[in-house]
Symmetry: C2
Subunit: 522 residues, 2 copies
Amino acid sequence: MEMNRRNFLEMVGLAGGSAAVYQMMNVMGLAAPSTTYAQPSLTGGGQGKKVLILGAGLAGMVSAYELQKAGYEIEILEYNPKAGGRVWTLRGGDKYTELGGQTQTCAFDKGLYINPGPWRIPHNHQAYQHYAREFGVKLEVFPMTNYRALIHRKSGVRERIGPVSVDMQGHISELLAKAVNQNALDQSLTPEDKGKLLEALKGWGFLDKNYAYTKSLATSLYRGYDRDPGARLEPGTPSTPLTLSAILKNDLWTDLSTPLLYEFHSTIFEPVGGIDAMAKAFEARTGRFIKYRSRVTNIKQDTTGVTATYEDLASGTTKTARGDYCICTIPLSILSQIPSTGLDSKLTEAIKKVPYAPSFKAGLQYKRRFWEQDEAIYGGITYTDQSMGLMSYPANNYNSTGKGVVLGAYMFGPDAVKFTGMTPADRLKEVLRQNTVIHPQAAKEFENGISVGWHRVPWTLGCYGLYSEKTREEYYPTLCALHDRFILAGEHTSYWNAWQEGALLAGTSAVEIIHKAAQGNA
Amino acid sequence: MEMNRRNFLEMVGLAGGSAAVYQMMNVMGLAAPSTTYAQPSLTGGGQGKKVLILGAGLAGMVSAYELQKAGYEIEILEYNPKAGGRVWTLRGGDKYTELGGQTQTCAFDKGLYINPGPWRIPHNHQAYQHYAREFGVKLEVFPMTNYRALIHRKSGVRERIGPVSVDMQGHISELLAKAVNQNALDQSLTPEDKGKLLEALKGWGFLDKNYAYTKSLATSLYRGYDRDPGARLEPGTPSTPLTLSAILKNDLWTDLSTPLLYEFHSTIFEPVGGIDAMAKAFEARTGRFIKYRSRVTNIKQDTTGVTATYEDLASGTTKTARGDYCICTIPLSILSQIPSTGLDSKLTEAIKKVPYAPSFKAGLQYKRRFWEQDEAIYGGITYTDQSMGLMSYPANNYNSTGKGVVLGAYMFGPDAVKFTGMTPADRLKEVLRQNTVIHPQAAKEFENGISVGWHRVPWTLGCYGLYSEKTREEYYPTLCALHDRFILAGEHTSYWNAWQEGALLAGTSAVEIIHKAAQGNA
């Protein structure tokens, strides 16, 4: 038998106990997070060299932050009057004008906000966690698994996630136990495993002594009750499990595994006060390099550097900026429209080949936190097959008697295109209508809202770089490579697409690549 | 076919859509939390009547709070110099003397604490949530489901909960798909369900097109990677699933269903700053009725009221207090040792029949939050088959560069008795030794700690009333009933044993029963 890693660790365990295993895991690099982020170490420094950075999103700012520490001269051109790019929070008073000219003014009360772009911070995003620790960006738990939140179907289904999870596990276990007890799987199980599996199915699958998943106080201990236990003579009344047929017919299982996605594994967070906390932390450290309201109109690489021509939107004048090297973090959707010279034609072709995902989000301010007060839903996500996609409840100020902003819609693809195609007023009307189907209180409690259709966001024209297997193979390596003195960086040059982690890792890897080249050229 | 509730709702759904279903659910009382807590409404008031309350834990204080609003005169006798009973937080500087005389002084740094008793607040504990809202007790999320935390076995197993969860679901699905594809379950499945089940097993069970659960980037998308995806040319490297045999042999599945227990369903909370926040909130509202350091030595009921004799521990003198009615919240473990007259002999017998659970907790202060910094474990629980039971990481101040207090041990039963039997110093030594088996860093980072063995806590002599099916049947109804002018209240007169919710509901139900009697006797 081949000695695989786990066998080996088991042997170590038998010999030396689990401390020995742990030490061996450390040696083998398994104990630590599977990626431990290490800040780039730019040995030798960058004195006398200038790096021009296009875009002051996270990729641009983390590049600037690390390069300036090594002594590089930095200049950042940014289209917007503020930094952060897609790392963006909308609060009361904020104005947003989308492509096409429609302007919305956010009317949320003080302290309330919506994050139109990224909104969650996985614990396994090591670069983000590293900078959060370094900059003191406070995180609060995002209850990605909320068993009290709902699975809703247009057919009329409206079930809590917890009981459906228990029912799925229960029915699957009952069926498998039946097959095992009929000896149908004797070819796949050793006699020892067979016995242990039956025991496991009973425990893990909430089965009774006859291997049945039933309506009982025993299963209600997991799925909840029709009437909860109380004081004195109220033991609770058992709830009725959903049938397997009902779960299958309504595809209820499809929403159960989302929190098991590695990128969503609890513990998962959000920054206190809005997702832009990290953008602001970087801006505080790199803002002095940023030329805001600078629209890049041309990129030219020559043998000694890169020159960007840009429109200074404040004065309406055309200017240029130049670096010995250039890190370009402009989304490909925008970059593909900017003329360039001196760039590898394979690169300019690749830049045009990656579509950007349409996505839509709407934040709705409700007068009363009815999801908490009426239904005991605290944070987390309700899933629906309505085109609104999902609904997410605020993950802070729990039990507040004040107002709350709910993410009332979040979806990708054709439905996102459809919502974005409406006027802002019509979008909210439709989102509210759909929210009301799930929570009838919504209609009465609604106050105001704001929406962002990502393919109409002027500075990105889409949510994130959407790769197919084909484009990942044909164009992605080109997009990731250094082209003389020019390199791309952003979530689109990472495998953490649409995540801030992708932008951060793309930025720091660009820094390392540029530094290596600069040392070589020195 | 019988028309059950769910069939009926499905019909309503077909006819009127999900809003109609929701309205019908409201009518049927299904939409709201399964128990909605309602404050007792004491019509007619309690003017001119006095209620004597024994014990200023949550049951006693909630009783006092509700009764005084209705005009009752209140007097509370409390053994301790402060209110709260088991709702107790230990902070730096606190001294604790257990039965037997051993005194520990908590040496935690400022801001750090451990909750030796209750520590978590379920979202479905409606009475607690009600008072939290009313009193402004702030709650923060307790990450009960932390997929990054560990399952540890003395055999040397040290696995993350997330990947084990995914593997269990994967293997079970693979086996069931095999049985279904072999037509072994055709008698249990309709042809339609059979097809849909196979589809579901693929999705829910992470199976490939051949219904196999394999090592692949597709399963790593759920269970995590050997090396995480990164920027540029790092797609991540797939991790190797545990075998079903390994999961079964080490009983890893036993720790997977805990967060699916209804009482642990996310979203679950802890009060900001310590569990005693609720006790303090009640004390602020009822403290004026409390006579602290009063040890009840005799209870006497006569035809017009109840008199308690007590030792005033400050002065060493014997005093009496009397009420027209008495709510006694003294734990049965203590109450059984207090002589009484005028109480139903069935009641005094029942009081002696309920043992109190032994339980042990230790809080350990570590210099560095190594669980976060080295392993990206943020809050939540690691399970082990060592006698320490479990380890829980602080659910606040995430990413702080300072110190942290970990719940280093928590168990019930014989292991709790064993730990409690040691000296406080030996307890910590053993807890630290076991913590170090799981986290080798613990040995080096340990600073100090404190432990509580509940059957040595002088004011309760145990953790909570431990009912068997037999005692629940024979004695529980007697313990719950009003006996002329005397009624018990506490978690032991509820089906939420060991939970603050039980104490609150027992208190408010006692108040209602007393009020009804008082109205009758008026």
